[in-house]
Amino acid sequence: MRTFSGKLIIIVLLVALVGLLSWAILSLPFHGASLRAQVFGNLGNSGVSNPVTAVLLNFRGYDTLLEIVVLFLAALGAWSLGIVRLPDTMHPARPFLLALLRILLPAMVLAAGYLLWAGAHAPGGAFQAGAVLGSAGILLLLTEVQLASIITNWPLRIALTAGVVVFTGVALGTMILGGHLLEYPRGWAGTLILLIESVAAFSTGITLVVLFIGGRPSKSDPSVALKTPEERKEQL
């Protein structure tokens, strides 16, 4: 596609596509088809007062369950691409980041907790909290503190799968108790949503860290300092 004529053909076709999409949007019945009334009508029974959270974790909980599965599958995909060796010793080259993190980390954990709690009545929720937790984890990883021994073993695997396991467990539990999939028992919706969201936020944070690592994290071999991709490949 490096030729000029090739690019020109693409541009012409895409301009036509823009026209087609715009026509489709302009001919949409804008205010006719909306689920606003249904959502606000049933908000009282949903266990939360934020309509978006109500849709995410109650009315369309199945979508969110599958979304957590997608996140898990992506981490699984990255995990299976190879072993990434994390440094086992403190890196002295980043004192500033470490000092900054001493201040930032508690604030980030607090912000994640707030976002999680606020999700019930205001914009916020599990994934926003998970994103903050994940970025805290990534910053921690960048300072190269001795994370390897903490997160390379089974606690990491449990944290990765916790979101999927708990959400699926709640979904199946509601079926066993006589309802449909993810049909929360009356009066329990708020509690169950909080439970799912807390575990999902934690799990999302850990998943994002694993995705950032881009492979199966493993302790570094102290005898071989692996630096370049070639060396890493030889080790595999």
Binding site: V39, R60, A74
Partner: protein, 102 residues
Amino acid sequence: MSVSTLYSLVGSSLFCLGLYGLIAYGHLLRKILAINVMGTGVFLILVALAYGSREISPDPVPHAMVLTGLVVSVSATALALALACRVQENTGSTKLTEDGSD
């Protein structure tokens, strides 16, 4: 033209811009970014269509769909980047060649 129409037209243009980047460039990182631009266009359309008017609150269902989509797009991007890193490690290049020979 209402605000929501304007934004959804911008969204469809963003989608096509991203599609152009996806087709026209061989560099993997550019392709991944292009897919993200496409996704952003779709999200913009959904959010814009959810907005009715100043008086009534927006339709929460498309908003929830966008939130779900954001997480999916983040995970897809991360997986694509991990794959691109592997391609770079194995072939020494992050570009796709025209004939796919290497």
